[in-house]
Amino acid sequence: MKDFIKTFLTGLLVIILSPFIVVFFGLATVFAVFLFFVMFIKHIILFFKGHNMKEPMGIDEEASRRLKALTAPSNETQVTKEAPTTVVQPQPQQVIIQSMPGTVISTGVGPNGQPIIIANNQQAFQNVETNNETNPYLSDKVEDKNHD
């Protein structure tokens, strides 16, 4: 209802002001015709000077040049951000070795990435076995190596 009353009042105002609106539009039309001929002459002059009015103005070229300069560094950073993702190599599994007194242990990583521990003597084997009771996979490997 509020919107309807607003529309009604706008209509009333436009009807009251319509003579002024018509006069204003008429003057604008006369100005536009005059402007058209001025621009037409300007177009001809610029044409003979070797310019084209359809081409962007000098300020537009300067704006596009500055915009390019602004956007260029951001592209570079994007490339450097993306580069590491393409050269990432799979890291081998990290094995933490807790050294034991009186034993020599050599360690390595298997073809599937599983840890391998080789002991030089029985004492070391026993130590390793007792230390890795919770990891049966590790204990089996140690045993196999000792039998060899």
Partner: protein, 214 residues
């Protein structure tokens, strides 16, 4: 006022109600048309935003005066290229009519006005006497229908009329767009360079103090 209404006959009251309803309807239609024109002009004015956004973003204009100068030049150029086709066609029509006048040795354009007047419809509006004035009270009756002729002069007159109407409306729409863009320039020149304290970050003072301490 009440005495006047009491003195009115039933027929007068009916005419009065119909008249008020017609006036209300006209006002409402004008209101909605104004809304539509305002929406179209707002859309036409947005062209300036596309033209000026890069220039403002790169700080090539730093005050409303420079903004208006550049935007106005762009507005005039846009108008020129928009109005070029209708103006060219209208100028072409004037040249063709001029050549036709020369070849047929006619000294005036009376033949065009004659065929156009023959094409018009004459209506008779029934009126009623109400409050001392004659007011239209019914649908009109056709007294004279349109008459069409098919000779070279009449065809020239009809084609000229159609071309003039179409391209004049086109040119007036261009003028309307010119005004719409001009209004947008005046508004944008103020709003773009307006400084707003509320837009500042809340911790600006704290940041400045920290910078000074460091």
């Amino acid at each position: 006022m009440i005495n006047i209404l009491i003195k009115l006959s039933e027929n007068d009251k009916r005419i009065l109600i119909a008249l008020i309803l017609v006036i209300l309807l006209v006002v409402i239609i004008v209101g909605y048309l104004t809304k539509l024109i305002r929406y179209i002009m707002r859309k036409q004015g947005r062209v300036i935003d596309n033209m000026m956004v890069d220039i403002v973003r790169t700080n090539l204009v730093s005050n409303p005066k420079e903004f208006k100068k550049v935007a106005r030049e762009k507005n005039f150029r846009h108008f020129y290229f928009q109005a070029l086709p209708p103006m060219c066609v209208l100028l072409l029509l004037v040249i063709i009519l001029g050549l036709y006048q020369i070849f047929t040795e006619k000294t005036n354009l009376d033949y065009i006005f004659y065929y156009l007047s023959e094409m018009s419809i004459e209506l008779e509006w029934p009126t009623s006497y109400f409050f001392g004035i004659n007011i239209i009270s019914d649908w009109p009756t056709i007294v004279n229908g349109p008459t069409f002729y098919f000779n070279f002069d009449s065809i020239i007159a009809y084609v000229s009329l159609l071309v003039i109407i179409y391209f004049t409306i086109h040119f007036l729409i261009c003028v309307q767009a010119l005004i719409a863009r001009e209004i947008r320039i005046s508004k944008a020149a103020v709003s773009v360079f307006q400084k707003d304290l509320d837009a500042l970050p809340k911790n600006l003072n704290q940041n400045l103090t920290d910078t000074n301490h460091n």
